[in-house]
Amino acid sequence: MAKEYDADVIIVGSGVCGANVANELAKKGKSVILLEAGPNLPRWKILENFRTSGRHYDRNNAYPNNPWAPTSNKPGYIVNTGEFREQPGLLKLVGGTTWHWGGATWRYIPNDFRIKTLYGVGRDWPIGYDDLEPYYCRAEYALGVAGSDTEDQSGQHPGEAYPRRSQPYPIDTEELIYSNTLLKEALIPHGHSVVHEPTVRIHKPYDGRPACQGNNNCDQVCPIGTLYNGSVSADHAVRNGAKLITEAVVHKITKGEGNKIKSISYLTPSREEHTLTARYFVLAAHSFETAKLMLMNNIGNSSDMVGRNLMDHVGLSLFFLAPQPVWSGRGPVQQETIMTSRDGAFRARYSANKHQLANNNPQIDIARQALEEGLMGKELDERIMDWSARMMNIYSFLEPLPDPANRVQPNPDWKDALGLPGLKVHFTISDYVKQGADRIREEYKNITRLMNGKIVRITDEFENHDHLMGTMIMGTDASDSVVNHEGRSFDHPNLFIASAGVIPAAGVINPTLTAAAMAIRSADIIAREV
């Protein structure tokens, strides 16, 4: 019998979402092809690139930026037309952009799923927390998350383990670093919620990954492979039988009978075109590139919502000097989180927030500021020594609401080496977020006072945090949503989207775990049908 399809399922993109879909389906014996636009590199090569780059603050610079698969560092590839410059650290290689991240793997709380019902703003999820809870567990075990089983992560249920969990975290929490103990001691007695951040930067070995030894380099590349990234799951998928094809830039999607997707085509770096067929297709190529691919091919866009409702956790940051040495930059890049304003009735009027104590090495910023102030010689040395010991940094996320005017589109005015368009992004920050920012500024003053610290700087401009959501928005209504609660396209029954881009209500927490949980849930649904 002639082979009807090239695979049961073809997945576009080998990041955390695509790789987890691939692994779940391969485990169940489905034939899977996993396509990746970028190359497949061993960690040591990325580490070598990082060390040779000399631009250590540029977290993208260790990664290949190939003319046929550009990263967001490629000039012209992303053009912003709105008031805010949305410039994420997008990578293209096996494992995706999680090659550099803080490793935060939070769950949404039940109220995050019902923000419209409860507070009259934004959109509700088409499913609730309880629907996703089992998949959160599976995602936590797939990624290897260390977290607390006893704390309240909502800020609203003091003394209670919240949200409800059906399984413990696969790894417990690590000891606190000194600055984090100070934060807890100072803030908790005054009604603040300060809790462990669940993280894939693990302090005990898991799944062959070693324990963290505090290189403090998560934002660029983990030199020892403690920090999970999508390549871990991509490797599992390949060992479970998935076929990985790298440097395969998908550019064409063809529809067939019954509005089903029939085939996809990709280009190699030398512009050879290959076409593949499958029963089901999963697009997992990042919130920007997935939307671009769909719009280029007029796929799944009957609602006109593809690429729209772009959300990011824009935020502010605080730099202050503690009265005593705290030595930021030793150990993990982040650990404790202030969840005091994660939820509450105020969400009807302005944005919630999450404050993260950052523990990155502050010396370059300190030196830069001192030089700008004109310090030289002994004064400069003393400033650097003193401030390096005492500097603390908190950065915060604000909750955006979906607005169709915030969008990403193909940019025909710029083309990559294969002749494919770049990205045009339009993003403005709403009053809802701006009012939330005013509250953050007040909280910063309060936190600094409780720490007996001295404010050095509160950022004026909003910062982007690479949490790109909403561009393939999920909902109950085909007229205003791209996918249903399964992650399935309303227009094409055999097309699924696995991406943080399906998230319809952003909350204030890093969305990766939710995207992975949704991806695993979609994989289960696909497995039942192919």
């Binding site: 060390r51 070995p205 030894q213 492979g225």
Partner: protein, 490 residues
Amino acid sequence: MKQRRIALTVLLLLPPAFTAPSLMAQPASIAEAQSEPETDLLAKGAYLARVGDCEACHTVAGHKPYTGGYIFHLPMGDIVSGNITPSVRYGIGSWSEKDFARAIRKGVLPDGRHLYPAMPYTSYALITDEDIHALYVYFRHVTAVDETPSQKSALKFPFNLPGLMTGWNLLNARQHPFTPDPGLDEQQNRGKYLAKGLAHCSTCHTPRTQILGENMNQYLAGTYVQNWHAPNITSDPISGLGRWSNDELAAYLKTGHADGKAQAGGPMAEAVEQSFHYLSNRDIEAIVAYLRTVPPIRVQGQKSPAWAVTEPARAEHWEVIEAGQGKADQSDYRNTTTTEGATLYNTNCASCHGISGEGSKDHIFPSLTQNSAVGSHDPTNLVMAISDGIHRQDIDYRTVMPAFSRDNQAIHNWLTPAQIASVANYVTTRFGKENANLTAAEVTHITSRTENDVPFVVRNAALLTISALLVGLVSLACLIRWIVRHSRSP
């Protein structure tokens, strides 16, 4: 040698009824296991089962303890461990203490079938009646599980011939229940009893003969096991453990880690994790005391211990690498073909072991100087540590050194055999004895040694058996002819 080989093969041909008297299983009597307070006996039995590391081979990860199913892939075929829970149907529930003792010490089942020496009965033969009793009581009390391993032992010809093991046992299973050695003190005798018996050190650390028996002339002189090198643990100060302190030896057995000496990987990591880790300090000290009395065996030509390189060497080329020329859109950024040892060391190893191989001050990341794997003339364990990684659950912390071979890696980081050779050469040159001349082919040989290094006799057993059979038949024909002729003579 040839004669012995033929003797063995002739033994193989004897009919089973002659060699394996079949005994009916006696109904087990719990009553005979009641003389001591039962809880003490149970605890003692459980402890002895730990010393013997029974669970390691009789349990498959994710299954209930002692239900068997662990597969030994041996040159002779696959051997599958049995269910040793007290299940009457599938386990050892119907065995009497006598049956139990015979299986453990002699490798013979109640129905007369022979076990294969993947079960270390040649060592367990030393177990005293008293300890057999405690083990028996313990195994009567573990949870009975009514299931049988899905796979069955499947030996290749001629190893599946009946009677083979009786012959083998005659040559190789010659130990008896332990009697104290009057030349040793009480502690040394306790150590000897444990090390030679239940802890079965010799199973892995003594080289094997052509027919895979332990070569007692080379007792504990070191050999290869599951691709790793089980080192010389005799008392020799250069090739063995003679210059390790008591504390170092005890720490190694308890945690798999002796600062400035060695770290356990591969099968020894499992032995530490599942067995030695649970031993009382007294028994650990006894084993150490006994190892001191094991006659020294020197590797010819070895001048200093493997761990004795003390001078840390600064990594070369570091500054050259730092200068860098990489540009993200150039092919350099994805070219992974280098076999330059310094580059590979600095990007794969230095983050934990330091650019000068110094390790961490708390020794959680071991130094590469003063390290037996690096300083050894035999690169096996260095290659295996790089290729397979180190996985050990210690007392204080879990140890994972990630694997770097393409098949075993778990952190999206891999080296080709040629790259493993060059990084190993770099490490031995900088931090070891400058005996670096490994090739990619040798790395491949080491990581697949179990398939390659099979004794001649075992490898060619089928052919030898058929030859011996023919020789036997021809001899028999000659003999008959001779007898017939002579009987006819007047």
